[in-house]
């Protein structure tokens, strides 16, 4: 077998291997590398872990309550399911009702979570504060501004 032919065969094998690899990875990554779960995923897939778990979603409107100094409770939602969260600590600046958030904590029961850490997640929209006020005045403000 000449060197060139041997290389050719190897190139073909390599291409097949790489093709299979790309397919395998593309078909499987999408759903599987998770930094956090949504409340719906948590409930539907019945994920119940004893360890720490991360849950992401929006803070439900008018659900944030201050229990005492540095103690909060709020609901986290993905517009389908809600979870009640208890948290003791300082909330990040960007944390407010209607904004995205990711919490890291322990599951207490099906509907309640005790958060150990709260992150605020901001979206990819940037806009001057003055314009937003104007948009709201004219009732043109949409949540998913694009």
């Amino acid at each position: 077998m000449s060197l060139r032919f041997q290389r050719l065969v190897l190139i073909l094998i390599t291409l097949v291997i790489l093709g299979a690899a790309v397919l395998l990875i593309l078909f499987n990554t999408k759903k599987n590398i998770v930094f956090f779960y949504t409340p719906t995923e948590l409930i539907e897939q019945n994920i119940f872990s004893e360890g720490k778990i991360r849950i992401g979603g929006y803070v439900k409107d008018s659900s944030l309550k201050k229990i005492s100094l540095n103690q909060y409770s709020f609901e986290i939602t993905d517009n389908k399911n809600d979870l009640l969260v208890f948290y003791q600590g300082i909330l990040p600046d960007l944390f407010r009702e209607g904004q995205g958030t990711v919490i890291e904590g322990l599951i207490v029961n099906q509907k309640t979570v005790k958060a150990l850490k709260v992150y605020a997640k901001h979206d990819e929209n940037y806009m001057p504060a003055s314009i937003k006020k104007e948009l709201e005045k004219n009732n043109q403000w949409k949540r998913d501004y694009k």
Binding site: M1, S2, R4
Partner: protein, 202 residues
């Protein structure tokens, strides 16, 4: 039939040798002589396409060796100045590996006989790391006969050899030439071989 045309070699823009023309026909033996660092080893490696030169061509039996390098390699035994035997394998294992790898059809009895002539048979099942450097060199040279190739290319074959072994090696060379073989070797030692031709390197 080995033909070397206008071969030059540069290493990092430094000229090692320039415009070498050699032609080797069947039954010819050439010794390359030269000072240390004159590029003898490099020259052998360029012929074997281990180092690649941009200028010059090498033909084996009328065909440029780069066209089908394995076809050329299949006719060559190359013995470098270091030991290709694996330290952790026994003499027998090494010999078997070389023999089978080069698809040689030498019989087992013959290879044992070879070991006998070089006085290595007692080490048959000993790992080569326990052999002396002269004995390892002899084991190395066994490949010449084991592999049964037409073109022999050797780098400093006489290093570490005692007088008796030198004698045997010379005899092996003569036998090979008489069988229409071709030998090209680099050495500072001047062996006594009839028909020896010399290529000076500087």
């Amino acid at each position: 039939m080995l033909l070397i045309n206008n071969l030059s070699f540069f290493r990092n823009d430094n000229l090692i040798f320039e415009n070498v023309n050699v032609s080797l026909s069947n039954g010819q033996v050439i010794q390359i002589r030269g000072k240390n660092g004159s590029g003898k080893t490099t020259f052998l490696k360029v012929i074997l396409n281990i180092l690649i030169s941009k200028t010059g061509e090498i033909f084996w039996e009328g065909q440029n060796i780069k066209k089908n390098i394995f076809k050329f390699y299949n006719q060559v035994t190359y013995i470098a100045d270091h030991n290709t035997s694996s330290r952790k394998l026994s003499v027998l294992d090494n010999i078997k590996f070389w023999k089978e790898l080069s698809s040689s059809n030498l019989s087992d009895d013959d290879s044992l006989l070879l070991l006998e002539t070089f006085n290595l048979k007692k080490y048959l099942n000993v790992e080569t790391m326990y052999l002396s450097s002269g004995e390892i060199k002899k084991l190395e040279l066994l490949r010449l006969v084991l592999e049964q190739k037409k073109l022999w290319i050797l780098d400093e074959p006489y290093n570490h050899l005692d007088d008796l072994s030198t004698e045997i090696l010379n005899q092996t060379f003569v036998d090979h030439i008489n069988n229409d073989g071709i030998i090209l070797f680099a050495s500072h030692y001047n062996p006594v071989i009839s028909k020896l031709e010399i290529l000076e390197f500087n």
